[in-house]
């Protein structure tokens, strides 16, 4: 079985367009979540983390024609472009595949005002993915995963499985979503949006903040394509289903616990070897409660854990890749990032929440995600 390395990363959210933009702000507890009351995405005011459209346009203009790509595609392409420029991978090679994860892609093209801007089939994820991979001159059919909010973690797991088994040499794993009115109105109808900046795992948490953005991990089996510094490997991952409810998490955490246990088995590590957990931590009442039960059942109560949602909200199909990218930087710099918004312990089972920027060496970390449809996924990275 081949080893799989992370040879390039990028994240784009309201915090910025590069990894260092994110770290500068996260280290200083600066959030990109703010109040939107312009009525553009929802009639009523709501808190969210949105990428500035003017800035996005400026950044994209440097690499391509913004008129030819949708907002979603621009985010995905920019993120992959930045991640690839830090890596020695040939994106055009037949042995490189693009794995693209998103919940809704270009669904905003269904809006009346946008219907004539692009061909009708652009609303489909396979078409958007072809545009994204095509930008880089890659000729393989892009592999698209659309599995609610675990899409990004599943995409990393799939990339790992393909590379470790020798099916291909490199994978450009891009996850992302845009916060359209379609999505904002839907989450609002579920009453799952917070009335202020979200408070993961906090006693007074009252819901999530939607976020948008894209995150990319360039994976390779070629250790020569990994730049100097701490070398990060993917050790494996797994997924599961709660089989409980389509729009609410398990009340016991058994599904997420299955995914975590299976991921540790795939990676060949014991709970005692996990140095840090990048949790999903959406700050909805039921999700955070469920996660505390799952991590406690998996024997991970004493492992430092954070949620990054307080910085850039819940980026949906991008959450898995964006949060993995940030957590990998934490490994490289031996830092645990604060759970912004958390103040008072508010989950039923014991977990160890990181409540300030903390120095800690990490050899092995766990990233998890859970989503509608009762799905869960976990992946393990190591130095």
């Amino acid at each position: 079985m081949n080893e799989v390395f992370v040879s390039g990363e990028n994240a784009i959210t309201s915090l910025g367009f590069t990894v260092s933009d994110h770290l500068d702000k996260i280290k200083n507890n600066i959030t990109g979540v703010k109040l939107y009351n312009d009525g553009l995405l929802f009639p009523e005011p709501f808190y969210a983390s949105l990428v500035d459209s003017k800035l996005l346009n400026q950044h994209f203009s440097r690499i391509g024609d913004p008129g030819k790509y949708t907002r979603f595609e621009q985010l995905m392409i920019l993120s992959a472009h930045s991640a690839l420029s830090g890596s020695d991978i040939d994106a055009t090679s037949p042995t490189t595949v693009f794995i693209i994860s998103s919940t809704k892609g270009n669904v905003d093209l269904l809006e009346n005002a946008k219907q004539n801007q692009f061909d009708a089939d652009r609303v489909h994820l396979w078409k958007a993915a072809a545009e994204i991979a095509g930008f880089f001159g890659n000729k393989n059919t892009p592999l698209v995963i659309s599995n609610a909010c675990i899409s990004g973690v599943l995409a990393i797991n799939y990339g790992y499985d393909l590379l470790s088994s020798g099916a291909c040499e490199n994978a450009v794993v891009i996850g992302g979503d845009v916060a359209s009115e379609f999505i904002v109105s839907g989450f609002q109808s579920f009453k799952s949006l917070s009335f202020g900046p979200c408070k993961p795992f906090d006693l007074n948490r009252d819901g999530l903040n939607l976020g948008e953005g894209a995150g990319t991990l360039v994976l390779t089996t070629n250790p020569g394509a990994v730049s100097s510094g701490k070398r990060i490997k993917v050790l494996g991952g797994a997924g599961s289903n709660d089989a409980n409810h389509i729009s609410g998490p398990s009340r016991t955490g058994d599904g997420l616990c299955f995914a975590v246990n299976k991921a540790m088995k795939q990676a060949g590590v014991q709970p005692a070897q996990i140095d840090f957990i990048s949790a999903h931590g959406t700050a909805t009442s039921f999700n955070d409660e469920m996660e505390s039960k799952a991590f406690s059942s998996a024997g991970l109560s004493d492992v430092p854990l954070n949620s990054l949602k307080g910085y850039f909200g819940h980026t949906m199909g991008g959450a898995g890749t964006i949060e993995s990218v940030i957590s990998i930087q934490g490994m490289k710099q031996s830092l645990l990032f604060n759970t912004l918004g958390f103040h008072e312990y508010g989950v039923p089972e014991k977990i160890t929440i990181v409540d300030k920027l903390t120095r800690k060496e990490q050899k092995c970390i766990l990233k998890t995600a859970s989503g509608f449809g009762g799905c869960n996924a976990a992946v393990i990275f190591a130095t």
């Binding site: 919940t103 809006e111 489909h124 088994s165 089989a243 009762g374």
Partner: protein, 211 residues
């Protein structure tokens, strides 16, 4: 790995292995067709009526695929995987949700529709119905890709992530609907393994072309 059953639903007809198990007597719109197909199964499952079109399509296919196969008795819940492909995601339901927000003066988005704007919800429905708790993945391609499905499911077996798999395709746009589903089990779990087809891309194609 062996394909121990396959089900194909399209154009008013349901074929299971080589047999037509349900056929509408007259051309019916999808919603009527799938309702009568569900009724013919004689199953009490009121949740069916709350599902969107895509989930109803996949659900009926899965009920026929799994009938009397005793999958929950033979395999542990966390080892039962569901791997599906689709082309149009949840476009029918997306349009329905979009209509609820098209007019700010008549604005009525609701969770009952919105939750079905995720294509993996159909996997969740089948998991809830059968208490399956293994790997889930929903891939999107412009058309059914037997080679990718075969490669991915094989990889999951190889890596011991699953012991059994429900794999296939479910897609609907307007009145064009199609679901193809296979039950894939290891030989070691079967007493009569000679009766079944080997799980490989060419056999998937042969089964997929039987309609």
């Amino acid at each position: 790995m062996l394909i121990t059953r396959s089900v194909h639903i399209t154009k008013g007809k349901i074929v299971c292995d080589d047999k037509t198990v349900f056929e509408a007597l007259e051309p019916l719109p999808f919603t009527e067709f799938i309702k009568s197909a569900f009724k013919s199964l004689d199953t009490a499952y009121p949740k069916f009526y709350k599902m969107d079109k895509l989930s109803k399509l996949a659900f009926v296919a899965s009920e026929i695929l799994l009938k009397d196969k005793e999958i929950p008795q033979k395999y542990k819940p966390e080892t039962i995987g569901l791997i599906f492909q689709n082309a149009n995601s949840t476009i029918e339901t997306d349009i329905e949700h979009q209509l609820t927000i098209a007019d700010r003066k008549n604005y009525f988005p609701g969770p009952a529709i919105f939750v079905y704007t995720l294509p993996n919800i159909m996997l969740g429905e089948i998991c809830i119905r059968n208490k399956f708790q293994g790997e889930n993945a929903l891939f999107i391609f412009d058309k059914f890709k037997p080679e990718q499905l075969f490669a991915h499911v094989s990889l999951l077996f190889q890596k011991n992530k699953i012991d059994v798999c429900i794999a296939g395709w479910a897609d609907i746009v307007g009145e064009n609907y199609e679901s193809f589903m296979m039950l894939i089990e290891p030989e070691s779990m079967l007493a009569n393994s000679k009766d079944f087809t080997t799980f490989d891309p060419s056999n998937i194609n042969i089964l997929f072309s039987k309609k």
